[in-house]
């Protein structure tokens, strides 16, 4: 793996994103929604800001999720559909470097965009008179960025074998399941009837197979200005993100390394 080639590939993703309007659209939309939220009259009360922080962070998560999946899932299929993949691979670039470079570019783009979302939210909440526990917020942002690395890796894995639309849909399905369904599996297992063992087996398998993105969600702590989580636990979450991302990128490389490239013939 040549780091300079990986960085150059990731720069190409950056250049492409700077020319697209996705991030700007999301930033403007977030700003508009937040301004609407803070201008709402809540029973003539003053100094009530937690709802704006809560909804702002929810939107930041939602927008970063959408951005991550869309940005990463169109990279490889786009290169193949346009035929530029042949020119790329004719250079001294391995497929592994291509995958890591594209993932790194997409992840850094989405991470910087997410940081901008947080900064915008912080400015609006501070102007409204709210406060932040800055260490907790920084910790929450760092873990959020870790979650985005997993989401980008999932998107990269599916984009190695699927066309952009299928990759986007499948990535949303998998990451959405990880975020909204997997954390509820222990509760569902408690509620379902005992004689449905085959469902229980599948649910337990899903619980351990899907990435646990809920670990990286510290929104509640940020909203309520709680003290940061223990650094050992946060470090373990970061380690988990690194392991899952590495595994997914390895799978993506395995899926892509022997793929026969044929323009316009993906699923």
């Amino acid at each position: 793996m040549n780091v300079s080639r990986i960085v150059t590939l990731s720069r190409m993703v950056w250049l492409e994103m700077m020319r697209r309007r996705d991030v700007y659209v999301l930033l403007i939309l977030l700003a508009a929604l937040l301004l609407c939220l803070v201008s709402v009259d809540i029973f003539h009360l003053s100094g009530v800001v937690n709802y704006a922080k809560d909804l702002g962070l929810l939107l930041a998560w939602l927008f970063s999720w959408i951005l991550a999946v869309i940005v990463v899932s169109r990279e490889l299929p786009g290169e193949e559909a346009q035929g530029t993949i042949y020119s790329l691979l004719a250079k001294p670039v391995t497929r592994g470097e291509l995958i890591v470079g594209k993932w790194l570019g997409a992840w850094t783009v989405v991470s910087v965009s997410t940081t901008c979302f947080y900064a915008l939210l912080a400015v609006i909440v501070l102007l409204k008179g709210g406060i932040f526990h800055w260490v907790t917020t920084a910790q929450g942002l760092a873990l959020h960025i870790c979650a985005l690395s997993i989401i980008c890796a999932v998107g990269m894995l599916f984009s190695t074998r699927l066309n952009p639309d299928a990759a986007v849909t499948t990535s949303f399905l998998v990451t959405g399941t990880s975020m909204f369904f997997v954390p509820k599996i222990p509760r569902m297992l408690f509620l379902i009837e005992r004689d449905m063992e085959w469902i229980q087996g599948w649910l337990i398998a899903a619980y351990y197979a899907f990435p646990h993105l809920e670990l990286f969600d510290l929104r509640r702590k940020i909203v309520h200005n709680d003290a940061p989580a223990g650094w050992l636990a946060a470090g373990q979450a970061v380690l988990y993100a690194i392991l899952i991302t590495s595994a997914l990128l390895l799978l993506a490389w395995a899926a892509y390394s022997r793929k026969t490239l044929s323009r316009g013939r993906q699923i």
Binding site: V25, S87, A229
Partner: protein, 308 residues
């Protein structure tokens, strides 16, 4: 490092320019969700304005779908209010297993203790009641909850009355709004106003609700018991006895207190607890029970309904 793929630049430029066309579509998808929410709230407003049956079971499917969305949004806002009241801590729910490595790590990353927002901090839950009221203005329970928490957080009844006035405009035939106003005036010891609103609530009971439902019958019991005490305070004993007879009819199994008091008053004796003592006790009780959902919530916590 430089550019290691110079010959691709023109091709990529053309590719990028072509892809930019897709961006407005992307923006449309993002704003679509917001518009759907707004449409849901609008549908409920329209339905309220044109009567409760305007979009009933035979109404257009899209309208029913939008109203269902509004109800879901409203419930979501109420759930959020409850979570906010607990400082963002998740509600306790029994699970099939609690010892997985992920649960252990989540437990160390997320706050799991049990707290309540108290004092002025409790007003942070009010925006969620505001949103619930906007999402589903025809649901009076939202207004009752908002007025209860406003009175509790602000320490005054005026804002709470404003909320109920707003609910009254949207639901002029719902007895719950008048009962809520009666409670607030009773708390403020404004007996004439309390009587006025309790009388109005009694006249409208049960309205669109099922009169056989336990909660609805308990509401009638509350209205009649307050009116009976007010009658006693005014010296109108026959009317008070008549009200108590109504209580016995509506809830025969839970009216021993009223049966006894009815007997004492009927014999012309002086009850051990005077009408004024009883009124003051009810006023205090009313404040605690101003919103049954809020009270039940407290009961649940006090009796270990949540994991500490």
């Amino acid at each position: 490092m430089g550019c290691i793929f110079p010959e691709n630049s023109f091709q990529r430029e053309a590719d990028l320019n072509r892809r930019l066309v897709g961006s407005p579509r992307f923006a449309a998808i993002c704003t679509g969700a917001v518009l759907w929410v707004a449409a849901g709230a609008l549908a409920v407003n329209m339905a309220t304005a044109s009567g409760p049956d305007a979009v009933g079971a035979s109404g257009p499917a899209a309208a029913r779908l939008l109203i269902a969305s509004s109800a879901i949004l409203s419930q979501q806002a109420l759930n959020q209010a409850e979570r906010e009241y607990h400082g963002g801590r998740p509600n306790y729910a029994e699970e099939a297993f609690t010892n997985s490595v992920f649960q252990a790590l989540a437990g160390r990353l997320q706050p799991r203790d049990h707290i309540h927002l108290e004092g002025s901090a409790a007003k942070e839950i009010l925006p969620w009641f505001r949103f619930a009221m906007w999402a589903e203005p025809c649901n009076v329970t939202n207004a009752l909850l908002a007025s209860y928490w406003l009175a509790r957080a602000q320490g005054g009844a005026q804002s709470a009355l404003d909320v109920l006035n707003e609910a009254m405009r949207d639901n002029p035939r719902d007895y719950l709004v008048y009962m809520g106003k009666g409670r607030l005036y009773a708390k403020a010891d404004e007996r004439n106003m309390a009587r006025r609103y309790y009388e109005r609530a009694l006249a409208l009971w049960p309205g669109g609700s099922d009169g056989r439902d336990d909660d609805v019958r308990m509401d009638k019991r509350e209205i009649l018991s307050r009116l009976a005490v007010l009658d006693e305070l005014d010296g109108n004993i026959p009317s008070a006895i008549e009200r108590m007879r109504g209580i016995v009819e509506v809830l025969p199994g839970k009216s021993l207190l009223f049966q006894n008091r009815m007997g004492i008053l009927g014999r012309g004796e002086v009850p051990r607890q005077s009408a004024l003592e009883r009124w003051n006790a009810l006023r205090g009780e009313e404040y605690l029970h101003l919103c049954s959902a809020g009270h039940e919530e407290h009961e649940a916590h006090d009796h270990g309904g949540h994991q500490p």
